[in-house]
């Protein structure tokens, strides 16, 4: 049973007869009237469980893209249905209308108005209700029940029930770093066309023969072919193809660290190290796939959390986004021995192994360093780490004494990290360290540089 504001107003009206006839009988009579009207309204309200509800949602949505959850409410009963319907979704999907656009619903004290719908249906009719959703957090989200509150003819009281209707949306990573993809692809094509002038090195492979033009390197003239033909012919080279790229995301405790604060009061806790790692992994996967390499993506802490292998072309990115959508950082120390074992089990040939982790000195010294030799022996290893934007801001603080001490501590942390990077380089690994927004393009550049140098 539910009361409405009209029931309260009706009860409050009772003060008038009470003032006119201040006897106990008035109280009893008016209380009886209120209870009777409410009971009648409840009895005449449509039973909410008779209402049939169908919910339709997209299976997957990219983070930050608005979608609609669609409810079809049908009313098979005989009486007119006046109801309030709530389409419940987890808080990180709740959105508020802001003019024509949507913005995340951030006030935890306020109800989500966009999820509530008034319905007035004659018998046999049905209504289509759209609840706008705006995902602010990656992962798999399950919808709550659909609550139907039906009112009686007077609108004084009614009945309410929560109908268990399923619903699930997989929120995929945003892949904001895709804006860097066109420029990197252009560089890749440049590398292809540069073939003739490029100094031949290991890792480049023979492509074709063509006529000499002025400016070509004389060292690439193919004398045998020139003698056969008559024109001067040069060999062209292209970057190697069909190399293997293994991107490994460390989802252990260092990945849970928040490296950029989100202070809009929402549940959007994005900005963990893992988010930046996923962005970089997706860009590298897209780029390497277009460059003709075979890409694998692994997420690992103490067990394999996600794996994408065997997909290429247009199927690769959706598969990778889908696999990484539900990966959350675990508050555990990463098992680097197990991780290296996974990589060695997955690829036997020489490949590019990209480790997306952090350069936390203690974690690297006790975890990665002892086992790095097993990888660098057979593979080209790139250690990509996300820098903390807040620490970078602290380093330049000079406002007061406290800021200077902060800057000193940040500088010391930087020195320690660069020492760790130097040790890693000595062990044969490339190290890329950048702020969250720059990690993806920097890692892509490192990949292109390795490819150009033929070191894959």
């Amino acid at each position: 049973m539910v009361l409405t504001r009209r029931a309260v107003a009706l009860a409050a009206l009772g003060v008038v007869p009470l003032v006119l006839w201040p006897v106990a009988g008035t109280v009893v009579v008016w209380a009886g009237v209120v209870v009777l009207v409410c009971a009648l309204d409840v009895a005449l309200a449509v039973p909410p469980r008779r209402v049939a509800v169908r919910r339709t949602v997209p299976a997957a949505v990219r983070l930050g893209t608005p979608v609609d959850s669609e409810l079809v409410v049908s009313h098979p009963g005989r009486r007119r249905l006046r109801a309030l319907v709530r389409d419940a979704w987890p808080p990180s999907l709740a959105a508020d209308r802001d003019g024509d656009s949507l913005r995340p619903h951030t006030d935890p004290a306020a109800v989500t108005r966009t999820a509530r719908h008034r319905v007035d249906l004659r018998p046999g009719e049905s209504a289509r209700l759209r609840t706008p959703l705006l995902a602010t957090r990656r992962g798999e989200r399950r919808a709550g029940p659909v609550t139907v509150r039906t009112y009686g003819p007077c609108g004084v009281a009614g009945r309410q029930a929560s109908l268990p209707v399923g619903g699930r949306i997989r929120v995929l990573p945003e892949f904001a770093s895709r804006r860097h993809l066109p420029s990197r692809l252009a560089r890749l094509r440049e590398m292809d066309g540069r073939a003739a002038v490029q100094v031949r090195g290991e890792g480049t492979e023979f492509d074709s023969l063509r006529e000499y033009v002025v400016g070509d390197d004389v060292r690439s003239i193919d004398w045998r072919a020139t003698a056969r033909g008559g024109d001067v012919v040069v060999r062209t080279w292209r970057p190697e193809r069909d190399r293997r790229v293994v991107v490994v995301l460390d989802t252990g405790r260092t990945a849970a660290a928040r490296i950029s604060a989100v202070d809009d009061g929402s549940l959007n806790t994005g900005g963990t190290r893992l988010e930046a790692g996923i962005e970089a992994a997706l860009l590298l996967a897209a780029l390497a796939d277009r460059a003709g390499d075979r890409v694998q993506v692994l997420a690992y802490d103490r067990a394999l959390r996600a794996r994408v292998a065997g997909a290429s072309g247009t199927r690769l990115l959706p598969a990778a986004a889908d696999a990484l959508a539900a990966v959350e950082p675990a508050l555990r120390e990463t098992d680097w021995t197990g991780l290296v074992g996974q990589v060695r089990a997955r690829v036997s040939q020489r490949s590019l192994v990209v480790l997306l982790t952090s350069l936390d000195p203690a974690a690297v010294e006790s975890g990665l360093l002892p086992v790095l030799g097993h990888l660098t022996g057979t593979h080209q290893v790139v250690v990509a780490a996300v820098q903390d934007g807040e620490v970078a801001a602290m380093r330049t603080g000079r406002d007061d004494v406290e800021a200077v001490y902060d800057a000193a501590a940040a500088s010391r942390a930087d020195l320690e990290r660069s020492a760790v990077a130097a040790v890693l380089r000595r062990h044969g690994a490339e190290v890329v360290e950048a702020l969250p927004a720059e990690l993806a393009p920097r890692l892509a550049d490192a990949y292109l540089a390795l490819k150009a140098a033929g070191r894959l």
């Binding site: 009470l18 339709t56 709550g144 309410q160 849970a256």
Partner: protein
């Protein structure tokens, strides 16, 4: 472009409604069981509760803080005891041939004290406050609760019959005689445990320490004898244990100006309207309190602020005044960045770095050396200054 998935609500089949009804009946049974056991517990508590009052010095209270012992003995001696809790009742019951005992009443109003002092009965004031003492004795006796008394029996030291019968006592002394017509007994220093005044043809006796009436101490020394003598002087005894809510000050039980009559100020429907407002408030609670379906929970990842450890280290530097460490970190970071910019190897020593910086910035070698490898700063201001100068140096260094 994206695939959609559709879910439907369960049709309300007979099976589900029947199971729901069964569930509801099951739940109702539990509610009934809980209510019945609650009622049982309340009933048991009501039955087993010890009878009688629990108020201090109440004649019907059998606990250590009560006074039923004295009351029973007095009744056996033929004294009729009237137990009252309101000043009005006490004034109505007290007459010329009776004793009025006033037990400690911290909530006594001045009007009530005056009314009690105006009665014809003999007054026995046990542990009375300043207001009542002043009113009843005509300001001849005052109380000073700060006077300490050694806990040993003292002889009465006065000719009062009750005191002579009681003999040595350990009662606390706290009454100070101001007038001449006061008889004081069991003195200790300036104060006395008992003060008696003959006024307007009746006896007013004040006892500072009411413990002579308590069940647990009445049998000590001569307490009982004193209590029986004081309270058994007349056939009738009025025993006032004031209720804290009592505001009456006249024998008719009326409100002689102490308490304004709410009925006179407010309209007669006010009480009913107030009760009705409570009902409306209840309806409002029912209206606002019903949620439109339950909350939908969401698992949040544990998020660790990464800069926390760096900030912690900064606080440690600051708290331990480790200016040397802080300056060394700032200098090393600057030297590292400059060396990187000038293309020096990581293993380059201090002289090489200074040389390179001098060549790149045109500064004096001593100046650069002191800045990058000088002594640690002496205080926080110097540290701040050092940081600023390191910034300036770094901005002046360009690739040669």
């Amino acid at each position: 472009m994206t695939a959609t998935v559709t879910w439907t609500s369960d049709p309300a089949t007979d099976a589900t409604t029947a199971s729901r009804r069964r569930l509801r009946r099951h739940r109702a049974r539990w509610v009934l069981v809980a209510a019945a056991s609650l009622l049982l517990v309340v009933a048991v508590l009501l039955v087993t509760r010890s009878p009688g009052s629990t108020a201090d010095l109440d004649p019907g209270n059998t606990r250590p803080n009560g006074s039923q012992a004295v009351a029973r003995v007095l009744e056996q001696q033929g004294v009729t005891i009237t137990h009252v809790t309101r000043v009005a009742d006490a004034l109505a019951a007290a007459g010329p041939d009776s004793t009025l005992l006033v037990t400690p009443s911290p909530f006594l109003l001045p009007e009530q004290a005056d009314a009690l002092a105006g009665t014809d009965a003999d007054l026995v004031l046990a542990g009375a406050g300043r207001t009542l003492l002043t009113a009843a004795t005509g300001a001849q006796v005052e109380t000073d609760p700060l006077i300490g008394t050694p806990p040993e029996a003292r002889p009465p030291g006065c000719e009062l019959p009750a005191a002579v019968a009681a003999g040595p006592l350990v009662l606390e002394a706290g009454l100070v005689a101001v007038g001449d017509a006061v008889t004081t007994c069991w003195p200790s220093g300036d104060a006395a445990a008992l003060a008696a005044v003959e006024q307007d043809g009746r006896q007013v006796t004040a006892v500072h320490d009411p413990s002579l009436l308590r069940n647990d101490t009445v049998a000590d020394e001569g307490n009982a004898a004193l209590a029986l003598h004081l309270l058994g002087a007349h056939e009738r005894l009025v025993w006032l244990v004031q209720d804290p809510t009592d505001l009456t000050a006249a024998p008719d039980g009326g409100r002689s100006g102490v308490e304004p009559d709410p009925a006179g100020v407010l309209p007669d429907w006010f009480g009913a309207a107030l009760a009705w407002a409570a009902l409306v408030a209840l309806a409002t609670v029912l209206w606002r309190g019903r949620r439109l379906g339950r909350l939908v929970a969401e698992d949040l990842p544990v998020v660790v602020p990464a800069a926390e450890s760096t900030r912690g280290r900064a606080r440690l530097y600051r708290r331990s005044r480790a200016r040397g460490h802080a300056a060394a970190a700032l200098r090393a970071a600057t030297a590292d960045r400059i060396a990187h910019r000038l293309g020096l190897p990581r293993a380059a020593g201090a002289p090489d770095v200074v040389d390179a910086v001098v060549r790149a910035s045109g500064r004096h070698p001593d100046d650069v050396g002191a800045l990058l490898y000088g002594p640690p700063p002496a205080d926080d201001a110097e540290l701040q200054e050092l940081a600023r100068r390191l910034d300036t140096l770094e901005s002046e260094v360009h690739r040669p």
